[in-house]
Amino acid sequence: MTEEAIGDVSVQRRRATIGGGPAQLGLFVILIGFWIFFSSLAPGFLSSFNLFNLGREVARDIVIGFAQMVVLATGGMNLAVGSIGVCAVMTAGTLMQTFALPVPLALAGALLLGALLGWLNGFAIVRSGVNSFVITLASANLFSGAMLILTRAVPLNALPPEVGAFGRLKLAGSVSPLLVIALVIGAALFVLYRYSTLGRRILAAGANPRAAAMSGVPVNRVIVISHTLSGLLAAVAGMMVVARLGAAMPAVGGEEWLLPSFLGPVLGGTLLSGGAVSVIGTVLGAALVTTLRSGLLVLQIGSYWLQLFLGLILLLAVLIDRYRGLYAERMRVVRSS
């Protein structure tokens, strides 16, 4: 196979995966399957109460997945998604409750902090040349530690009533506005990666940093931008939790978001090695995770076994993805020979 042919495959694959390809279609079918399974066993699954709750949780999981996806696109990872999320949560709570700032101002402050912490991650990674795993492992603990020291882990539950009211708001019967926000963010990311120069540059830098640098892509800047975006998205997910709980809890986020943040994008076909993302896949992956969580709860299997299922599903997903890739390659070789 020539170099050109290999390049051709990766471009084709990337085009397919930003939107939807066979992997996403398969995921969609599995998702529908689980919905039929759960709703036939437990009619309560399709009640408007459960659907509304499901929508709010999916919204959060989608945005957490996006926060990881934008960094995976560059071939890095961000272990600090949960820490940045909880820092944003407590910042918003403090600004609203202690400083009595108006809600929009407090939200803006929290989102700004998220972006700033993400920028710090990106800056440290680019400057030190150390891999993103270690930098974000360290920074995750710095951020969470600083938050706990400053807030003394006291929950803030005297927030303005509008916050909780927004979380309880229902559009068209049982749709949460949070879900709409998550999907709008998804649409924006889709446009970013498919149609904008910046998005193409991010993917190019993730696929092959040296080749990208030689073609004039400012690789370092692209990495810093991706981490800033990741921090911002983590903060958005934090705000969704604040709206749902109507309070700022220091126990949300943290390591609990680690697995979901990878589950969504990886199930959806985003490559860990960078250079390929799937926005729709991440949405479907997050939906699958939330569906399972909610379904097991409705079936009263209990949350104890949930982690086992999630782990096995992640394993299965990466294995299928691996063998599908190998199979596609073999077919290509057969055809070209």
């Binding site: 150390v130 492992l137 360290a138 086992l308 394993l315």
Partner: protein
């Protein structure tokens, strides 16, 4: 080259200095620091911590990572406690079973990583979730409390400031030093971690070393879990839940190269001593326990920075 510069180039010198300063400062500010009981408590927490650090160190050595160290620890802890309490298995039999479970968990990680060629991070993230799920599914988060008296005694007894427990990590440290310095598989492991391609070209089988590292990692996590059960006097399902940061902090602060190929048993030991000292100091100074997390994060960054500086300096000189 100044003396200070030369000293800093030795990987554990900075740690030894930090420990010395820490001991002097703590002895001056707190009269309780140098009491026999306090030193004993510190050494006890050192035992489990060191094995957790070693469990990650061996995977870092081969250029891999094991997110499932804590999950394997938790599963082993409840299996170990469970078979003793519910099935009445004697300790002498339960310990090998516990180590086998740990090794088995590592084997699964290693085989999955090698056979699929998927990044070890995502494999062990998935298996970590699965192992934790089995742990909580079996126990429903309820600990096993009735541990055999000799085990609990082993966890509590001490000679002066030295807990009996300390025997295990010291033996393991000696064995690991020998393994990496003098045995063929140990050298192969590091050679592969240093340059996988060169190692494969010189006839080292990729599958074998990666699986070996993961099996070792699982076994070390299992030893840590058994010690944790002895120390706590009960098999808690939450054992291992907070090992992730510590497992990376100890070897990295101890000077292990993240890219693989270089580890330091002595450095990791010094790092765990330093971490135990910081935790103890914060308790004695009655500072928020949250500072531990913050300081560990800062220490990792400092260590990574120092390692880079050392690499650059060594490269230039």
């Amino acid at each position: 080259m100044t003396v200070l510069r030369r000293l800093l180039l030795v990987e554990w010198s900075g740690l030894a200095l930090a420990i010395a300063v820490g001991v002097v400062v703590l002895a001056l500010i707190s009269p309780n620091f140098l009491t026999e009981f306090n030193l004993y408590v510190m050494l006890r927490s050192f035992c489990v911590g060191l094995l957790v650090g070693f469990a990650q160190m061996v995977t870092l050595g081969v250029g891999q990572m094991n997110i499932a160290v804590g999950a394997i620890g938790g599963l082993v802890a409840i299996a170990f406690g469970g078979i003793m309490e519910k099935l009445g298995v004697p300790i002498i039999l339960a310990v090998p079973v516990a180590l086998l479970i740990g090794a088995g968990g590592g084997l699964i990680n290693g085989l999955l990583t090698v056979r699929t060629g998927i990044n070890g991070f995502i494999i062990t993230l998935a298996t970590a979730s699965a192992f934790t799920g089995i742990n909580f599914g079996i126990t429903q988060s309820i600990p096993f409390y009735k541990m055999p008296a000799p085990l609990v005694a082993f966890g509590e007894r001490h000679i002066g400031i030295f807990p009996y427990l300390l025997v295990a990590p010291l033996i393991v440290a000696a064995v690991l030093s020998l393994f990496f310095a003098r045995t063929v598989p140990g050298r192969q492991l590091l050679a592969f971690g240093g340059n996988a391609q060169a190692a494969e070209l010189s006839g080292i089988a990729r599958g074998k070393v990666v699986v070996l590292a993961h099996v070792l990692s699982g076994t070390l996590a299992a030893i840590a879990a058994v010690l944790a059960v002895a120390q706590l006097g009960s098999a808690q399902p939450t054992i291992g839940a907070d090992w992730l940061l510590l497992s990376f902090a100890a070897p990295i602060i101890g000077g292990a190269a993240l890219t693989g190929g270089y580890i330091s048993v002595l450095g990791t030991m010094f790092a765990v001593v330093l971490i135990a000292l910081i935790e103890n100091g914060l308790v004695l100074a009655k500072v928020d326990p949250y500072w531990v997390q913050f300081l560990l994060g800062a220490l990792i960054l400092a260590a990574v920075g120092l390692n880079r500086w050392r690499a650059v300096t060594a490269g230039a000189g």
